[in-house]
Symmetry: C2
Subunit: 219 residues, 2 copies
């Protein structure tokens, strides 16, 4: 499928704008585990996800991580154009959680299109607003939901994404998603295990009682 199918406002662009995009858009393939940096020099540009699964996260000086959101087929990521946006002052990292393919529109071209096309500018506003809403939701979770509820919600989401109750994931990785330390995760998982909600084996968290995890997350 061509890039036209992944950019919702394609039909609102002039033929000239469409042509400029087609001329420089890059088709990126990233193997599972690849980390796509997004810093000044190697700005990723606007990402249009064709397939796979990506994770956007931030990284502290000490190497701690927290997942901001995930990107799936037909999702569009604007934060990866931050290097050309004067008011976006932060670094976002992107990691391929599965083998992924995506279109990338160079950040400078995208910025030019924003400056000349009302459709592109308003589309960017929508993307930014929904990124903002997600970040707000995440902050509320962190501030106001206790860790057991957040962990229950995380396990259920993972299970949903992977289509299995037997999750191949390390405690370290869960800690990175949730912005906490491995020990904190391990302690809570052991509590879940004692309660009969999960079973822990090396590198695996098996969900035994989905219903109780759901009740826990909703309290």
């Amino acid at each position: 499928m061509s890039i036209a199918n992944y950019l919702p406002i394609w039909d609102k662009l002039t033929p000239d704008q469409q042509q400029r995009i087609t001329a420089v858009a890059d088709n990126i393939k990233a193997k599972e585990g690849t980390i796509l940096h997004n810093s000044g020099e190697e700005c990723l540009g606007l990402l249009l996800i064709r397939s796979g699964q990506l994770r956007a996260y931030i990284l502290s000086d000490e190497g701690r991580e927290i997942t901001l959101y995930r990107l799936f087929e037909h999702d569009v990521c604007l934060l990866s154009t931050s290097c050309v946006m004067p008011d976006m002052q932060f670094d976002v990292m992107i990691e391929a959680e599965k083998d992924s393919e995506m279109w990338s529109i160079p950040a400078c071209l995208y910025k030019n299109l924003m400056d000349e096309s009302l459709a592109v500018s308003n589309y960017s506003n929508n993307l930014m607003s929904s990124h903002f809403s997600e970040l707000m939701w995440l902050m509320e979770q962190i501030m106001w939901k206790s860790f057991d509820k957040r962990l229950a919600a995380f396990l259920l989401e993972e299970s949903n994404l992977e289509g299995t109750l037997s999750l191949k994931i390390t405690h370290e990785k869960i800690a990175n998603h949730m912005g906490t330390a491995r020990e904190v995760v391990t302690r809570m998982l052991r509590y879940f295990q004692n309660e009969g909600m999960v079973r822990l084996t090396r590198g695996t968290v098996e969900i035994l009682d989905e219903k109780r995890l759901m009740q826990l997350q909703d309290v």
Copy 2:
């Protein structure tokens, strides 16, 4: 001063657009302590601060608060138009921390202007991006800075805003700003007092050792 002085893109609007704004813009006066809700029915619109000091914050179901950012003279708040923006799904509260005056452009008019004017749309993108950057910064602080550093930074900022080392503020109020419980604030302030950095009296936190607080926040 007219509203033209508070909207940075005024000169990029057509005379017709300027006239539509002038016709409906509201001059709001809010006494210190007034809470300006921002929910579906009484949407505040785009706020252009003329004088005073406002605080934008979110509120949990249990009544806990956290300060998102503050607004001063010539600041513009876009989040208060969220009721007409399809992708902004959250409620922000605004409180006058000092007697304040502001222009308000009704949210529906502002949305219409965004849909027809590239200048307004791009300006909104810039506002949204800088709100987003502030939220990101706040989240990093919460996730990665220990509470003593955050509290030191908060006291120094307050002292700077008020132009005094003797802050008239309750522990409850500090807790609301920082999204934590009063007890947590009291415990840390007592530690600061034992260390000779502050002196606590009823309703007052007096900064005794500004330099050490600065060192603490920067570690």
